[in-house]
Amino acid sequence: MTAPMPVRPPEPPEKLPPPPGPGATTPSAPEQRRPSRLLAPLRETGKLFALAVAVARAIFRRPFQVREFIEQFWFVASVTILPAALVSIPFGAVIALQVGSLTQQLGAQSFTGGASVLAVIQQASPIIVALLISGAAGSAICADLGSRKIREELDAMEVMGVSPIQRLVVPRVLATMLVAVLLNGLISVVGTLGGYFFNVIMQDGTPGAYLASFSALAQLPDLYISEFKALIFGFIAGIVAAYRGLNPRGGPKGVGDAVNQSVVITFMLLFFVNMVLTAIYLQIVPAKGS
């Protein structure tokens, strides 16, 4: 401390209250408990959940922002469809080749179709959806909301009595959810076709066996859980992106950091949630034929 402490001037006796000394500067200090540094992650998590609840409630509040929803839906779809299709072909192929060579060693070649389709639909497809939704759509949403926040646009909106959650966040979250579900369908189809193509053409599998094992092992609940996962992933990606976008830390660089964090946090959350959902699904839905 080289600079002298600012001391208030001795005059104005009657108009000004007594000088706020070092002890008196924060009269509210005793009532505010200093938050523990250890609890910081919990606090962030709590705020994230609070936002999720607020968004879930605002979804049912009228008026619904149809226009914003359609615009966002179109935007999210347009940035994810092509990469999704391009990624899903090699992904399906890799799984088909891997499963194909494994079953060949085990002598269970006739089950290649079923195994690779299950792997694509249950695991690969929702994961690809998660990567694309958070990487392409989530980052864009986070950057958009973050820059609006630092330009005080969100404050201005709140001042006009319009809730940014209802006006901006809800349409975006719904858009990512819907796109995730539809995208998951697209990836499942393309991935399965890719797997079929590589198995039949490259590994000399028989089309009949591929399709027969398909219907022997796969069942409709496999598709349901896949779509359900995609729905949850879309929701989480939308919420995390919105949360980080609404709370950037200071200035344009804060927005960049927020985008970065939103993608990383979403990835980690989605892989974890995927594990939990898979474990629960395998427990409660009996495998076909068992």
Partner: protein
């Protein structure tokens, strides 16, 4: 008629830093008030606290019985529709044209037809002198134009309470004068309660009915304009004169040593008689009489006994020429 805003014991801190404490004042309904203060004394924070964007730790802001600090989010949202807030840099939506920006509150809160919205918006655009620019994006216009567009957007719902955050920053003196006149005319037309936060001395001297000043984490005074304009409090007289000598330093407060040295050197120029109070702006010809000014006259006359001598003389002088405040 505007709505009274009652602020009671408001205290706000960011972390350990106290911004201001125990601020209590009443913005009388339909009158124009100005909050002065050196840069960095939390004037904007005060404005945002009134409208509920920031939550002070203590105190209340009562508007129509709703406490903007502690009431439920729903009540606060409803009450905000009574407000028009002009942000320091406009805070326009960057992705929308000026027209859509100004039409935004109408489209969100009313069920007006598009033709009607167009009429109202163009009227407001005309008032703030932006005709011809309505199709431009906020990024394509100058800072002063953004500010005026922000004002137009704040006015579009005929608010009962108008808050202006530094209406003069980024405007040249002529435009500032026009804006001052515009604010007074608006007040005459819609009789809204207005609070202007500024450090522009011209606005402070000519526009308000009431004035307050924030300094050093406290509200120095708040009352009829004459009280502040004739005040002998060193902070106030230094600020109004724009001098370096006095308690306000470069980093808000001077340290005691500098101040003592200043007093020894006696650099504070001696006052030459009482300060003259510039007459307040009147609405342009053709505008209705300001109801707020009439109410204020009664209010001030009733509290005459509690005012300092200099303020009393100034008030009597200002009301002397013609009854009703209609000077020519």
């Amino acid at each position: 008629m505007g709505i009274e805003v009652v602020v009671e014991g408001l205290t706000k801190s960011f972390g350990k830093q106290n911004i201001w404490q125990d601020v209590s004042l009443t913005l009388p309904a339909g009158e124009v008030s100005v909050m002065l203060g050196p840069s960095g004394t939390g004037k904007t924070v005060f404005l945002k606290s009134i409208i509920g964007l920031l939550k002070p730790e203590q105190g209340r802001v009562l508007i129509n019985g709703v406490d903007m600090v502690n009431s439920s989010e729903r009540d606060i949202m409803e009450t905000r529709k009574l407000f028009g807030l002009m942000f320091q840099d406009g805070a326009l939506f960057g992705s929308m044209s000026l027209f859509d920006n100004i039409a935004f509150p109408l489209r969100e809160h009313t069920r007006k037809k598009e033709s009607e919205i167009r009429r109202i918006v163009m009227e407001r655009i005309d008032i703030v002198g932006l005709l011809g620019s309505e199709g431009k994006l906020p990024g394509e216009i100058s800072g002063g134009m953004r500010k005026r567009a922000g004002l137009a957007r704040a006015l579009v719902l005929d608010p009962q309470i108008i808050l202006c955050d530094e209406p003069d920053s980024g405007l040249d003196p002529v435009r500032t004068a026009y804006l001052s006149q515009l604010l007074i005319d608006l007040n005459a037309q819609i009789d809204a309660t207005m609070l202007i936060v500024t450090h522009n001395l011209d606005i402070a001297a000519t526009v308000p009915d009431n004035m307050g000043m924030l300094f050093c984490r406290n509200l120095v005074t708040f009352g009829p304009r004459e009280v502040l304009l004739t005040s002998d409090t060193p902070v106030v007289s230094q600020f109004l004169a724009g001098r370096r000598e006095g308690p306000i330093g470069m980093s808000e407060e001077k340290d005691a040593a500098t101040l003592a040295a200043e007093q020894l050197a006696d650099t504070v120029p001696p006052r030459t008689g009482p300060r003259t109070v510039v007459p307040q702006l009147e609405p342009s010809p053709g505008m209705p009489v300001r109801q707020g000014a009439l109410r204020r006259r009664e209010r001030v006359m009733a509290m005459m006994g509690q005012l300092p001598e200099a303020a009393r003389t100034a008030i009597l002088d200002s009301y002397a020429p013609a009854a009703g405040g209609a000077r020519t």
